[in-house]
């Protein structure tokens, strides 16, 4: 009986103990970046990793990558941690209904209020179509990117008598209701492989509050190849085949040349933060007048130049390899860029992270 009298309080006491819980899967991905070297390679995918842009708070890098694990070869948007590491999020067409088509999401930008602007294009991949069957511009909330609002289908014509815009590139948010971007022409060339050639037509502004989005051409920006936002309603831009960087005030229409890289080569992919201007200059770039296509700028990457507009100095950043589509971080201390190794038959560019002087 003594045993029972002891056992009972013991049993009562242990009732309060917790049960063990079934095992949960761990986090098996590396915690941080692959290395801390400078410059730092952020992506290693054998496929192309393209067009990085920063999230407005600088916490991550949004870019486009190819799903090599799917036969349809979708292009998706991914968000990397600012320091590099494992993808934080993916925006893909993962529906089974989309399995028979190549769905490409790209040309994205995130506003300070968390809205994401991007383009969608879809082609039935089994038909080996070069051009997408459908394409449009959409806006979504970054937290729920699968719930999108289609803003405007592509291509569209700017009435009356204006050009047709086949694609948009380098969208930059003007507040939270409009974007300015490089309106482009697109050529699909069937050669040894397949090639898609984008040629800047001009800069344009799209008001997203209406549907379809209202498009306004920005005059004097013919053959624009890149655009960046400055202070107020000022934009900086480059044009194809030109070594100069222009500044334009959208309200007044005043335009000025702010820098000329001269013999360093053709300037593109301009970025600006205060008096610091960055651009890709020279490198593997050519500008020709094609008899069929017209003026064409082909770009395999170039050097990154840092210009101090206040001191009027141009400092090429010493890097091996070439870079394209640079994106300056919101704090102005880092650049994310497409990197092209020199002398390496890389299957596609990767995203690199650089410290800026």
């Amino acid at each position: 009986m003594k045993v029972a009298r002891i056992a009972l309080p013991v049993l009562l006491a242990v009732i309060a103990c917790d049960h063990p819980t079934p095992p949960e899967p761990g986090n098996y991905t590396p915690g941080g970046p692959f290395s801390t070297a400078v410059p730092r390679q952020l992506t290693f995918s054998p496929g192309p990793d393209l067009t990085p842009t920063w999230l407005p708070d600088g916490s991550g890098i949004l870019y486009q990558f190819e799903r090599l694990d799917q036969p349809d070869g979708d292009r998706c948007l991914g968000i990397l941690p600012a320091e590099g590491g494992t993808l934080r999020a993916e925006i893909c067409n993962n529906t089974l209904a989309g399995a028979d088509s190549t769905d490409a999401y790209g040309d994205a930008a995130v506003s300070s209020l968390g809205r994401i602007f991007f383009t969608r294009a879809s082609a039935a991949w089994r038909l080996h179509n070069l051009a997408p069957a459908v394409a449009d511009i959409v806006v979504a909330n970054l937290a729920t990117p699968w719930i999108v609002r289609s803003i405007r289908s592509l291509p569209y014509s700017v009435a009356p008598g204006g050009p047709t815009h086949f694609a948009v590139a380098q969208p930059r948010w003007l507040g939270d209701s409009a974007v300015v971007y490089v309106a482009q022409n697109v050529f699909y060339i069937r050669g040894v492989g397949y090639d898609t050639l984008r040629v800047g037509i001009e800069l344009a502004r799209m008001d997203l509050r209406v549907s379809p989005g209202s498009v306004t051409r920005i005059p004097g920006t013919d053959s624009a190849s890149s655009v960046a936002l400055g202070a107020g309603d000022t934009i900086y831009y480059t044009v194809a085949g030109d070594s100069r960087v222009f500044r334009r005030t959208l309200g007044s229409g005043d335009t000025a040349t702010v820098w000329d890289f001269g013999a360093a080569g053709i300037a593109r992919d301009v970025q600006i933060r205060g008096a610091k201007l960055y651009a890709v200059v020279g490198g593997v770039v050519s500008y020709t007048h094609d008899s069929t296509l017209g003026p064409v700028q082909r770009d395999g990457g170039g050097s990154i130049h840092a210009v101090d507009l206040a001191l009027a100095t141009d400092t090429p950043i010493p890097l091996s390899g070439f870079y394209r589509h640079i994106a300056l971080s919101p704090d102005g201390r880092r650049i994310a860029a497409e990197g092209y190794a020199v002398g390496v038959a890389s299957p596609g560019p990767d995203i690199w992270l650089l410290d800026v002087p």
């Binding site: 009972l8 242990v14 009732i15 063990p20 098996y28 992506t43 290693f44 995918s45 993808l87």
Partner: protein, 921 residues
Amino acid sequence: MRRGLLAFVLVAGAAPLAGQATGAIAGRVRDSSGAPLPFARVVVGNGRQGAETDSLGNYRIREVQAGWHQVTARRVGFQAVSRDSVLVQAGQTTIANFVLSSPLSLTPIVIETSADTLLDPLAPADVQRIGGDEMRRLPVTTVEEAVALSAGAVGESYRGGRVGQQSFVLDGLGVKNQLDASTGGLGLRIPPDILTEASLVTNGFSARYGQAISGLINVVTKDGGERWQGRAAYETDRPLWASADMGLDRFVLSGDGPLLGGVRFAGALDAEARLDADPVNAPAPTDPRDPRTAVPWLLPHNAGEHYDGAAKLTVPIGGRHALRLFGARSVERRLLFDPAYKYDDALAPARRVTGTLVSGHLQHLASLDALHPLTADLRVGWFNREFMQGSLLSQPPFHFGAFSGDPMYFLGGDVALRQDTIAAQNALPGFVPPEYSVRTPWGVPAFFVGTGSRGSIGWNRFQELRGQLDLAWGLGQDADWYFGGELVRQRVRTFQRVFAYLPVGDSVPPPSAADFRPTSAAAYSEWQLRTSDLGFTIGVRLDQFQPRSDTGTGLAARPRWTFSPRFAVSTVLSGATVIASFGRFAQAPDYQYLVDAAFDDTLRTGRFRRGNPDLGYETATQFEFSVRARPSPRTNLRTNIYVKRMEGLVASVPLSVSADSSIFGNADYGSVRGVEALLERPIHGGWGARITYALQSATATATNAFELFRRIRINTLGDTVFPGSVEFPLDFDRRHGLTVILQGIVTDSVVHAVPVLRPLRGVETALIARYQSGLPYTRTNAAGDSLIGLPNSNRLPPTETVDLLVRRPLRFAWLQGSVYLDVRNLLNRRNIESVRRDTGSPGLGPQDVSAMAESAYAAHPEAIPYESLRYRAWADLNGDGMIAGSAELLPLYLAAARDFAQPVFFFGPPRLLRLGMEFDF
């Protein structure tokens, strides 16, 4: 002397029908000189039931509710005699003899009572019973576990029958899940605390009962007592070491007693939850990266909880009527472990089954002095069983152990409840297509899935309103007549949608739904006759069922009839009771076979088939020869030899030349032959034992369904012959089954004899050891599309378990109770309960795993870059930020294949322990 006693039993007692809630009390009343006392009145309880003795002093009280009763004998001029604790068992006759003395006599009062069910020659049924109190003394928890201790039982299969071929009788009212009993169970569990007894009847049961061809489970609940009493118990494995802690909690609360106006109440609640509700004794994973290598290897997403409650009101109406109202409800909620969702378990399926029974029983009792007493029982019952399985909207929160109280809401559940086959043509909201998981330790896109669930939602509801009238008419001391019938109206509703993340199309079958209202009816008549030392039971039963309405198949249904005669003759030879019986039993097919296949198919081929509303009865004809004897005063021995022929078993038959376009039909035949032996020594002198052994052979004879076996023969003329039928073992052909139950109590006399046991005084111990030979299984080729050999031509290894219960009484403050330790599979034996059909073993061999891995690698040879969620640093052998090539990728695929192919549910449960304490009040 013994023969004289038996002869007396033959004269005095006739056994009531097996498989019911009542028994009988019979005996003889004599005076102190031994002379029979005619016209003495013997009454049960408060006198509402009773009988008068005949000229030989014999009496018999029919239709006495099973349980403990006070029995009183009176006669003018004699002192009344009462016996407080006379145990009446369902379907049996309890002998109670009285010796009355005159008030002035000093002769002591003598009462003899015995429930001599063993040697009662007028109880032809094969009944193996277990009382509610006995269940508490054994390491069993549920009625099903208790009944499974019977000879000839394989789980819920009895005498070779398929699961679901048994009938469940609760307080005399038939309750059956007629929709999918063979795959889904009853859905209603009666808390053991409200039981008087449970028994398994495998033959010779009364013509009163149909809808069973393998056995009848008879459950008798108790009426409320004359004073309030109750019990509270709590069981847990929390205090145990890690590997023994399966997250179990169980609460039991029961009570019964009188209410106002003579109304009595009895009720019980039983709630149990376990974090791993279906633990397995599978080998632990060997790869240290597998999260289940951590002790105690609980299966994730395998929690379950169930709540069972029952209550009964007994209302006396006048002197000769009683009304019993009974209600029971069970809710079972289970999270189901799906290996493909091991790392994304929130997307794994879940299941909810609820069962509700409400019944009323109005009993008319015969007058005490009736020459031909007539007892009538009118029962009305409403049974509702609802099943839903699919993906949950959200995972249940655990509040206490595995208790969540969450009602479980299912994706697409609203569409299923509406049976909206139009809306279900589209992809259902909330469903997302599954993709290969990125959350595994192996990373590779293979085997494990996430993102979305399997996309299925299944629902069915079975409702039944049953009215049953049973009459028992005493035709004198030598004959009884039982007759009556039942009317049943049912409603069946089903819905199933698969791949609900896609609209219905070429590769997505349309949703299936059915809504029909079958009816059935039955009438029976049975006579029990006694002459000299022979007893006869003759019964006939007529059953009819009719689906009545469209089952969604577009096929017509006809009403079906069946006639079931039953006959038994019994006598006493050389001190043993010998019984020969013959019976034909029938049951309507599961209604799931009437509708297009919307259920998991447990029949042989596992293919999708069309339902057939024109199915008829499955029947069995059983011949049996039984001998019951008492080799010593405290030893009972029963042996049964039986042959059972089953006909019209539901199987699938080809509808055309294509095996996939087939339909259910009453196509198969079966044959079961067996011997059962039961040796029993009730507890006496501190110990008791019960040994049961069953030897059986159960084979099926099938038409050449699906052309499963193309065994071309050349006959003597040189012609090619395709055999029209084959014979092979039935699924539940368990050849040998041995169960040994030992019980012991450390009594005062034991302590006196062995003083060292003094600390253990009062300790009760019960041990159940089981040995069962293996069940048959079917081998297939690696692709699973061709059989190797005949169906069921291979056998699993035997299984062995030892269960133990040790209970120590205690007194805590003013409470009396006990603490106990319940151990299942004490020796922690790893029993193999099933195997893969392609390998004949629980798992895959190394070569098969390699083949799986290589096949998966061939499908996805792409490199895994560093930034991918699939990147695993340990596999990047050259440290270049990419896992590429077979040297780096194949080890991942191999590890994933080993993980996915882990045999889990092929093994029985491990050693399970639970500590319990209970208090009586």
